[in-house]
Each structure stands twice: as structure tokens, then as C-alpha cells.
Symmetry: C2
Subunit: 223 residues, 2 copies
DNA sequence: TTTTTAAAAGGTGTTTTTACCTTTTTTTTG
DNA sequence: CAAAAAAAAGGTAAAAACACCTTTTAAAAA
């Protein structure tokens, strides 16, 4: 690495911030340029200067690490976010990384490992130890598990076809032409779909499709 | 485990199927009850009897492992799917597990590890070695990376508010009431939103919102 | 300091959706 | 086999969305 990498430390405990700063001082390619007490504080300071990496605690007043991660990922897509927290449960790890965190460490982690994490995050875009990786995988599996879907309306084959075409932004008439049916028939299917999915209108149907992964993949991949 | 666990082996190579069956015969709590050449073959045989675990190859004629995983996960949500394949690239691992696979192994894996994977999958719902876990995490990070979003239309504040209310399945009039504006105004905003997002109608707007995570979280969590 | 963009609202007209209810035929399932 | 569900289609009517284009005011950006 040619130039120094700029770090931000976000934690409500001044001791932790100063501790990290002191420990990182030994590593000449890194420099703590921002200290913030909480997410809101950080966001204000980011208007002036942007670091390469943010070390972020979860438990903070005003704006916690979860909200902060979301906000940062939205506003600064290239910024690397490393969560450093005292407690780490699986669900939290998963949801944070899903929200855009690039690494997850606990506060008792050795400074060398933290630096290693920073370096790898800058290089590869992520750093995960075995524990975190397992949590991630468990999270994905969990999200695929048969949800308590107590009463799924279960659409018929034709209804599903129509739903998919609705998701492709087609009108009744267009769908009728595609399926070689009367527009009135599509009308009926549309009504049934809205009724069965408990939607109020096609927008609700679209979200139902996304929730249940019934739409074509293209709808969510193209930009 | 009280009763025997039923296994299905799906691979176009008869040698592999018989090999696995023979090796698993030593483990008294497991029994191979189905052998199939490919996904379609498996799906037909599943109509008669359902196993607890499927050992699935990827490269297969007629219906490959990826399609099969999707189909199985949709039709048999509780079924555990273990991918056993000769080649394993990261993207494939990620997409397969995302599609509902519960484990990913390579064919040169020791039979003891395969049995361990079967057991853990039945118990915890997943089994992943370090390599696979890393691939998973890399996949998630990848999907969060700043996409080439070359030209984002950037909606104005008000437009975003209206979009969110559209996502909540509100009509123009309702939105007008909520924001204390004329329905005409909302009409204009809706038009602008459709135009800026390149959508054809509100369904397209809904998908745009999901792609760009602009909707409220509730829309995708409630069922 | 122009110029542009955002916010708010209206006119007018067409197309589409939504709501409610009915009917026939075929398939599937208890 | 009888009953239920799915597929297909229609009538009618109101409500909502979609299209296009215009205007005023205020704020922001060039």
C-alpha cells in the first residue's frame, strides 16, 4: 500500500477509542483520522473527510451500529465497515453483514488480528473468522427454512403464470395475448391472486412475489 | 436418532451411486432408499417415497443439480439437500446454498466426513467446512458491493416519500390524505417516479424499490 | 445572477384495474 | 363416485392509474 489508509473509530467509550488509536499508531500504514461517539456524530464528521475503513461498535447512544451500517452503506458504498463489538450473537452477525458490514470482530480480539482484518478488508473486501463464517452460513440456511407459513394461499398453476407476468409489468391485455386467453380470464385470475395473497392491489402482489420468490430473477438483478 | 434415516443418491454415474450406497451400508442409522440418475428421475421417485436427505451431484443430464435444488426446496421444504460434486467454485457454492442446499461437499471427501455432514445436516440443518463458509461470506459481500449503478435517477425527497407509500399499497387519494396534499400532486409525483425509474407501472416501481432497498422493511418480512 | 430543480397543483382524456357476481367445462381429489 | 378446485370467460360499473402538458413559487446550483 502506497499511502496511509484512513481509519474512523466509532464508539461511545472514549477509553476504547483512545486505546485503538494508540494501538494502531504502531502501524505506519494506518492512521485514525476520525473519532466519533455514535453514528450521527460520525455522519456529520464524514461530511468533512472520508476514511477508508470504519471501526464500528454496535451498542451506542443516539444512533447504534446497525442503523449506522445501513446509513453508511447507502451513502458511502466504497467505505469498508468493520464491526468491533463486545458481544456477538449469530443473528446479529448475519443481519449486519447482510446490511453491508465487511468484517465482524469482538473487542477481545488481538490488535494484530484487527490490523490483519483491516488489511484484508481493504484488499479482498471482507474478513471473517471461522466463527463468523459459520454464523453467516447458518443465517442463510435459516432464511431458507420452511417459515411458519401457517396458511399459504397456494396459487394455482395458471394464477402463478399470471402473477409472473404481472411482475414483468404487463397489463391484462398483454398477458391475455401472451397466454392466448381472453382478457376477462386474466381479469379473474388477477382478482383471485389479489384475494388469495391478501394484497390490496398489484403492488402488494409484487411484494408477495418477492417475499415468496415467485418472480423471475431478472426483476431484481437488472438495474 | 431412533429410526433409520432415509437417503437418496442422485448422480448419473452408476459407479458413484453404488459406491456411496456401499460405503453408507456400514452406518446402521442410514439407508439409501432411492437412487436416481438426474433431477427429473428423482422427482418422479419422490412421489412414491420421501427420504430425509438427498445427496445431489451438479453435473447431470436432463435436469442438473441447480435446477433440482430449486425444485426440491420448493416442493419439499423439510428435505435436506447435500451437494456432492467433483468441482466446486465459489459462485456455484453460494448460489446453490442460497437456493436452499444444506451442505456442500466435494467427491473426494472422506466417507466419515460425508456421514458427519449427513448427521449435522439432520441435526442443525447445515454443514459447512471452512472453505465453503468463506465462499458463502464472499458471496454475500459480493452481492453488497457497489454495483455499476452507472446512472441512478435519484428521486427527490418527496418522490421518495410517495414511493414508500405506493409500496404500502396506498392509492393516490390515500397518499394525498397522508401527506396533506392534493391528489393531483401525488399524480404528478407518481408519473415522475415511473418515468425516473424507467418503470412501466407501479409494479415496476415496487421492484425498483426492492432492488434499491427503498421500501420499508415490513413489506418483505410479514407473511 | 441566471438557470435548473423541487414542490405543489390543475386540465383533460384514455386505459387499466378493481369489485362483485355468474356460468361452463374439465381435472383433481377425498 | 361425488365433491372440490382449477381453468376459462362474461356483465357491469366505479375507482384508480397513466399520459401529456401547463403553471406558480421557492430553493439550489452553475
Amino acid at each position: 500500500m502506497k499511502f496511509k489508509k484512513a481509519i474512523a473509530v466509532v464508539d461511545d467509550e472514549i477509553l476504547f477509542r483512545k486505546g485503538i488509536k494508540g494501538l494502531l499508531a504502531e502501524f505506519k500504514h494506518l492512521e485514525v483520522i476520525i473519532e466519533a461517539e455514535h453514528g450521527k456524530d460520525l455522519l456529520e464528521k464524514l461530511r468533512v473527510q472520508q476514511p477508508d475503513v470504519v471501526l464500528l461498535d454496535i451498542q451506542m447512544p443516539v444512533m447504534n451500529g446497525i442503523e449506522t451500517t445501513e446509513a453508511l452503506r447507502k451513502r458511502y458504498p466504497k467505505l469498508k465497515i468493520i464491526i468491533i463489538t463486545s458481544y456477538g450473537n449469530k443473528e446479529l452477525m448475519f443481519s449486519l453483514i447482510e446490511k453491508g458490514a465487511n468484517a465482524f470482530l469482538t473487542k477481545n480480539t488481538d490488535i494484530k488480528v484487527i490490523v490483519k482484518a483491516i488489511n484484508q478488508v481493504l484488499e479482498k473486501g471482507y474478513y471473517f473468522d471461522y466463527e463468523t463464517s459459520q454464523a453467516m452460513v447458518a443465517g442463510i440456511i435459516e432464511s431458507n427454512k420452511p417459515k411458519p407459513s401457517f396458511k399459504k394461499p397456494k396459487l394455482s398453476g395458471r394464477e402463478l403464470e399470471v402473477l409472473k407476468l404481472i411482475c414483468k409489468e404487463h397489463t391484462n391485455r398483454e398477458i391475455a395475448d401472451i397466454l392466448c386467453l381472453s382478457p376477462r380470464t386474466i381479469d379473474t385470475y388477477r382478482e383471485n391472486i389479489i384475494q388469495k395473497t391478501g394484497a390490496k392491489n398489484v403492488v402488494g402482489v409484487a411484494f408477495y412475489a418477492v417475499r415468496n420468490k415467485l418472480h423471475d430473477f431478472a426483476e431484481l438483478t437488472r438495474h
